[in-house]
């Protein structure tokens, strides 16, 4: 079964290597052991700018990359320029918003998403619902600039023609799946949480297998626990194939074709 991992953080002390290139090549060796064909790297560009182009040239058939983008404290024009430099004019294929990046539903950020869509870039948005607050409620302990799955739903409703990936299925997946369920342009990525039985089954039941994408969140998570969510789920082999790579390949196809990459 072909497995593509949407969600890799190639930095961090757990991954052996002194440079980005060494770390990624060590990750590829572990990925080989786990049967994973391609890795999607979330890249903090300023850390490794000089390594990125040679790295992607060398591993053209194993890697795809996302710009890790911040919305709330970076001028729009700078983000547009980043996408032009690294997606339109470079090897990367998408953008990723993290837990500190800004609430994705804020209308002022819309030009980032519409420009990404015009480049056929894949859009990944971290989401989580952390219980807390007074009185305690889901999302009450979120970071100030952290999106919830409900924020992705708002963005999706405003831009029904733009495909969006709701990262981590909202963390609290029983709520996250419900939050994005009405919006057919939203897929969920299952990575980053514990391998709780039922997550993938509920997502298939409520969203359909075509809206679910495998990702691991390595190195903060391991490959093992995240692969297990799909391997262990009580779903069909065809549904597993869609989740492990079919759906992501479909989302990547337009930009891959434009760049002459294989999918």
């Amino acid at each position: 079964m072909k497995i593509w991992d949407l969600h890799i953080h190639p930095e961090g002390e757990r991954i052996p290597g002194r440079t980005l290139t060494e770390k990624v090549e060590n990750l590829l060796r572990i990925a080989d052991r786990m049967g994973i064909e391609r890795l999607g790297l979330f890249l903090e560009l300023e850390k490794y700018e000089k390594e990125i182009e040679p790295l992607f040239a060398r591993h053209r058939d194993r890697l795809f990359g996302f710009i890790w983008m911040t919305l709330w404290n970076v001028p729009l024009a700078d983000n547009i320029a980043l996408m032009n430099r690294w997606i339109a004019g470079g090897p990367l294929i998408g953008i990723k918003m993290g837990g500190y990046s800004g609430i994705c539903s804020v209308p002022a950020y819309d030009p980032v998403f519409t420009h990404a869509a015009s480049l056929k870039a894949v859009i990944y948005i971290h989401t989580w619902l952390k219980v807390g607050g007074d009185p305690p409620h889901p999302g009450g302990q979120n970071l100030p600039q952290e999106s919830r799955p409900q924020d992705v739903a708002v963005l999706a409703a405003r831009h029904p023609g733009i495909p969006l990936i709701c990262g981590h299925t909202g963390g609290d997946w029983e709520l996250g799946i419900r939050a994005v369920r009405p919006h057919k342009n939203v897929s969920v990525e299952i990575g980053g949480g514990f391998p709780a039985r039922g997550q993938v089954e509920m997502a298939v039941r409520e969203l359909g297998a075509e809206r679910i994408i495998y990702g691991s969140d390595v190195s903060g998570r391991g490959f093992a626990s995240q692969l297990a969510k799909v391997y262990g789920a009580a779903i069909s082999e065809r549904e597993k194939e869609l989740i492990f790579s079919g759906n992501l390949r479909r989302l990547l196809a337009p930009i891959a074709r434009a760049k002459g990459l294989s999918v």
Binding site: M34, G198, S219
Partner: protein
């Protein structure tokens, strides 16, 4: 309980995992030290009936499963929880499920629950959930329980965590058990045998405690909730191979998670056997 020889152990080891290029594979004859019967209070899931769970464990090559009950988390009538657990294990998994009863040392007359687990239900150990029962390992009641269990030759499993704290029901928020006091307790109760379940997410967050626990040869830790790249290998390097046991935390977690961590860690056959069978059997005793 099923007995598996070395040939069967390694032969079975090639069948139980999804395909991949891995070195270490899961093995037939696995001792799974972390399994629950009954129903998680907040969600139904596949495998939360005993026949389904037994079938799942057999499919993955488990020969022996140390089994507690989800009912122990919130129920106060522990005697009936334990009687049901023992009856379910006998009825559906006599040759595979080993019941570990629950004892709550802050309930009145908990000593009788312990006696019944040992003398009437013939359990080899007990499983405690201090966080769900609102005491800590510093509480003198826990030391009394540890001593009483040790005097009876019963192992004590300490379960520290059940679910991601970020996703708890807003009205049922349960802190993780602090294992910091455990090494000192083990010094004071030298006969105690202890297995820690769901104790740690990462080694880096608990390196000192893990290193101290690794010095006791009557202690084991599982890795069901450990989750970061190659974290099982980091655990082995910190505690030593002899302290690590296999726990799947089924049915709450997908069994494949623990099994694939063995592959991710690229363990030798000897280390695989130690973790998946021999360490647990040694700790449990004859």
């Amino acid at each position: 309980m099923t007995s598996v020889n070395r040939r069967g152990f390694l032969k079975g080891s090639l069948a139980a995992l999804p395909p991949g290029a891995g070195a270490a594979q899961p093995a037939a004859g696995i001792v799974d030290t972390s399994v629950y019967l009954s129903q998680w209070p907040f969600r139904r899931m596949d495998g939360d009936t005993t026949p389904e769970l037994v079938a799942l464990l057999r499919r993955h090559g488990v020969a022996q499963a140390w089994t507690g009950s989800f009912d122990a988390l919130l129920h106060k009538d522990m005697s009936s929880v334990n009687a049901r657990l023992a009856a379910e294990c006998r009825r559906h998994g006599r040759d595979i499920l080993v019941p570990f009863g629950a004892v709550n040392p802050v309930l009145p007359d908990w000593e009788e629950d312990l006696r019944r687990c040992h003398e009437e239900l013939k359990m080899p150990g007990i499983r405690v959930h201090p966080n769900y029962q609102n005491y800590t390992l510093k509480d003198p009641a826990f030391e009394r329980l540890l001593r009483a269990a040790a005097e009876r030759g019963l192992m004590v499993q300490i379960v520290c965590w059940m679910e991601d704290e970020r996703h708890h029901h807003p009205l049922v928020r349960i802190p993780t058990v602090d294992l910091g006091p455990l090494p000192a307790l083990l010094e004071r109760v030298p006969q105690a045998r202890v297995a820690v379940a769901n104790g740690f997410q990462t080694v880096s967050g608990a390196r000192q405690t893990l290193a101290r626990l690794g010095k006791f040869d009557r202690v084991a830790v599982d890795f069901a909730m450990m989750d970061a790249l190659m974290e099982l290998r980091a655990l082995i390097e910190t505690t030593g191979i002899g302290r690590v046991v296999f726990g799947s935390y089924s049915p709450m977690f997908y069994f494949e998670s623990a099994a694939l961590k063995m592959r991710e860690a690229a363990l030798s056959d000897a280390d695989t056997r130690a973790i998946q069978r021999d360490n647990a059997r040694r700790l449990l005793g004859p």
